[in-house]
Symmetry: C3
Subunit: 387 residues, 3 copies
């Protein structure tokens, strides 16, 4: 009964917000500009493939929780996008963009949410993922507003270099997720090993590849046509760098290769090149990618075990090592790589993001834990009808 109330409440909130979003009339623009908008739409579709099959299936490596993960992905995407549109359409915050850009920005917020959820995967009921989305998006919008729209007057507009979202998307999501695990790791959950098998691994690697394939469109989604091809080449080379580096690091650190490294750290180049994807050159992009792959693999192979033991908390998908550290590295790399960068603004942006993400993650984790907390971890049979 109280559960149904919660459902009703959450639905109400989601619907109410959405009811306020309105279709912008297409401005009268030239035929050529319309064509350029349509090209952005194709990138928006690519990003949608990343959200659903990419992030969604990457998380399917948990053998007994695959169908729940996919269901949760569906719900988070369907919560984040309308909610982001509603919040920014309401003009509460100072983000004003023409139509298709707003869809892309909404997808970015969904990506960040999915990253955050990776840290606590398996420890929420499905409706709690929806609640997570409802609570996450306002903080995400708040941080984005400070970094890019001069919100609170902290960072000048255009000073923060983060085209593909190393900081605003990846780092924010990862650190938010880290904050949330503090209230959402039970003792029993901490001790339960996460099992994967040959099939769940292959699905996860499928998700990983879909992310790899469309990553150039993610980074270049808002880049104007003259810079687009260079951006795309940089992203492809960064991913190539992290892919090769992951293999060599994984062998070096573990003797054998971990499929989890291949599924995750190969993508670290895409995470790290986000900040500088449109402002660097191909060889530097390759090097940034290779270093990010090394950092990420080191994270999965060495740090993850140590940190989890130290804090007695579980980061299910290791989002700190795929999105957190490589994201911060990417944001910092801009200091070295981009000529004439406003270093104070860049460092402030990173610090603010870390602070807001951690604080809001801690808070939201606490709130979500009030809605109910499993002593162990969930499996598909807990919430799904399985014959």
């Amino acid at each position: 009964m109280s559960k149904k109330l919660k459902f009703t409440l959450l639905t109400f909130i989601a619907f109410a917000f959405v009811g306020t979003c309105f279709a912008n009339e297409t401005q009268s623009m030239s035929k050529l500009d319309q064509v350029i908008q349509v090209q952005q739409y194709f990138r928006a579709i690519h990003i949608m493939a990343m959200l659903m099959v990419g992030f969604g299936f990457l998380m399917v490596f948990v053998k007994k929780y695959g169908r729940s993960t996919i269901t949760a992905t569906y719900m988070m995407v369907a919560t984040a996008i309308p909610l982001y549109l509603a919040l920014t359409g309401l003009s509460i915050f100072n983000i004003q963009e023409p139509d298709i850009n707003k869809i892309i920005l909404a997808e970015f917020s969904a990506a960040s949410l999915l990253i955050a959820s990776g840290a606590i995967l398996g420890r929420l009921k499905i409706y709690q993922y929806i609640a997570l989305g409802v609570l996450f998006i306002p903080f995400y919008v708040f941080n984005e507003w400070i970094l890019f729209s001069g919100g609170l007057g902290l960072i000048g507009v255009g000073k923060m270099i983060d085209t593909g979202g190393s900081i605003v998307i990846h780092t924010f999501g990862a650190i938010f997720g880290l904050g949330a695990i503090f209230s959402l790791t039970s003792k029993k959950g901490y001790k339960t090993e996460i099992e994967s098998d040959s099939t769940s691994d292959r699905f996860s690697l499928l998700g990983s590849m879909v992310l790899w394939i469309f990553w150039p469109s993610f980074c270049a989604a808002l880049v104007a046509p003259p810079d687009l091809i260079r951006t795309v080449i940089n992203v492809i080379l960064a991913l190539s760098g992290s892919t090769l580096a992951t293999y060599f690091m994984s062998v070096a650190l573990r003797k054998k290769v971990s499929p989890a490294d291949i599924a995750n750290a190969t993508l670290a180049g895409g995470v790290a090149i986000g900040s500088t994807c449109d402002s660097t050159t191909a060889p530097i992009a390759f090097v940034i990618g290779a270093l990010a792959g090394m950092i990420s693999t080191y994270g999965f192979a060495i740090l993850q075990g140590k940190i989890q033991k130290a804090i007695k908390k579980i980061d299910t998908c290791g989002v700190l090592y795929l999105h957190g550290l490589p994201g911060i590295f990417g944001g910092l790399a801009a200091l070295v790589v981009v000529n004439g960068i406003d270093k104070k603004a860049q460092l402030s942006g990173i610090a603010i993001t870390l602070f807001i993400a951690l604080a809001s993650g801690l808070l939201v984790g606490k709130i979500i834990s009030f809605l109910g907390k499993k002593t162990g971890i969930y499996t598909d049979s807990d919430e799904l009808i399985i014959d």
Copy 2:
């Protein structure tokens, strides 16, 4: 021997039709118009992904029939597209479009065929799926000709509002399939439970996500650049609406969530928004989607069992509940939503589609059943070489 004859006959028909289709010379058009055509081609590729990995893998939920389903999908797509091109290229019917539009229309016909096949999945031999395609497409073209090209003088050109095919694609396919099950459900088949497992479910959810991702391109495939972005936003919001509604309805009606609801009813918003995708606004699109998700989930959770018991026939994939009811709802929603709609034409179009689809489905089901009918249901080992 008689089987080989059938093969030969069918191949002959397919090849003969195809031999008649010819490459239209590219008209001399401006560079910008060529670019716009290429953009339609990208949407055509998106739709192809929906046909193959989308519809194909959505049906892979049947555990012991997955490889046969994929094989059948291959064959139906390869039959429908050349056949549609041949039939409309012959100008027997009054459908004249420039090149790439015709490919898109051919893909639409393949989508409708795949929907129809979903109702009888598992009860045909592979070559019977090809025969189904050969027999289905002419009726599909006939209905399309009446609705959009003034065929038989029943509906004025441009009067039927159905841009994304709620009626002409989804409803037609679903009702045709329903007609076909009457001759193609055996007593034993009716009693055999359809099994799925964790892996077949994950494949099915993958197919579902691919449909979700590319659905905006499906609805907007023939929409001109100025209206395209609005259409796309409407479709994304309709899908978000049905996705959230599916979860809440599934929990409300079943206590636990059914993976089949998640794989199917989440897409009902895409089905229902088809008619009005380019003529409504974002909040209305969200509401149409949410209602369609409720209708669809109610169909799967409550109606499917009752109807199957009443008529003693099996609709394997539940196409009535994903494509039939949400499609009809979408077509009717246009009456309320679209200003200045010709209500008589819209209602006539829906009624004509229902009639032609049911009649031709009953007829074609009968014909197919003459080619052979299994007493139970097929599994992969019946027709495939499996070690």
Copy 3:
């Protein structure tokens, strides 16, 4: 220790080459030309989907080697693309193209590499696949240079008709792979049966469908807008032809249908239409595709067993039957189909490709075998950490 040395060496080579590749400045071009470049980029993304999820997952049919296959695919793509860019950027060879074309050409080289690796799949360690890439790409570039850039003065520029790479991509890769198996098939490996199961088959069919879906973009990647739509229609019809032909041939030759035929030979139309995709008409494309499907299915059903027995070597994925024979057939079909073709140039191009591919395949296979050779075949547990 010596292994680590090898790693270091290989990494060094890869990184060194890459360091030499540089970002071309975007030339000042009109807004419309930029838009056309962006459209090529979308095709480049489609090809990336083919490389990763397409070729990668097609090879996942080997049940116990799926995760290794995916890992190897990652490594080969990440090796081939930067290396191709580096080699051609250095202007050692006479291939000069604007940016995005070069990415597409690099992807083509990766496709050819993946095809070659299919012949020896399961008999290399992961780092040997990287070595394979490092050694393959220079020969590929050499052959491409002769065929299309007048290298060594053997074939006039523009005389070789091979837009979609039937010869330069598919035949080259397949024959190179065939050459390599001579040094890389052990006696025990020859006798070990390659196992697949229901799940590995479904993954393989998924890869196959992804190849089918995006094949039009592969063939049309470098085609200019005015010819693009015709090219796309030809490719779709060729694939439809091979898909239908595969089914009928598979039933005729084997009684039951082989899932391997469906996963592979359905694509033979795409391989064979490569040469003539932009210079023929739709009905001829359908016929070329149908014939290629027959050739390919005949290869898998009849030739593969005979040839393997005769030479006592294993072609793991049967690349001779999907890429080799249909590729050669496609190259030869141009002689009949294309008006005013320079027959001597076309035949020379095919002969040169066969020679270079076989010779370099034999040589590289030998070199790779010096790095280590398994007595049997590898499985996932040999190199991956599997719980």
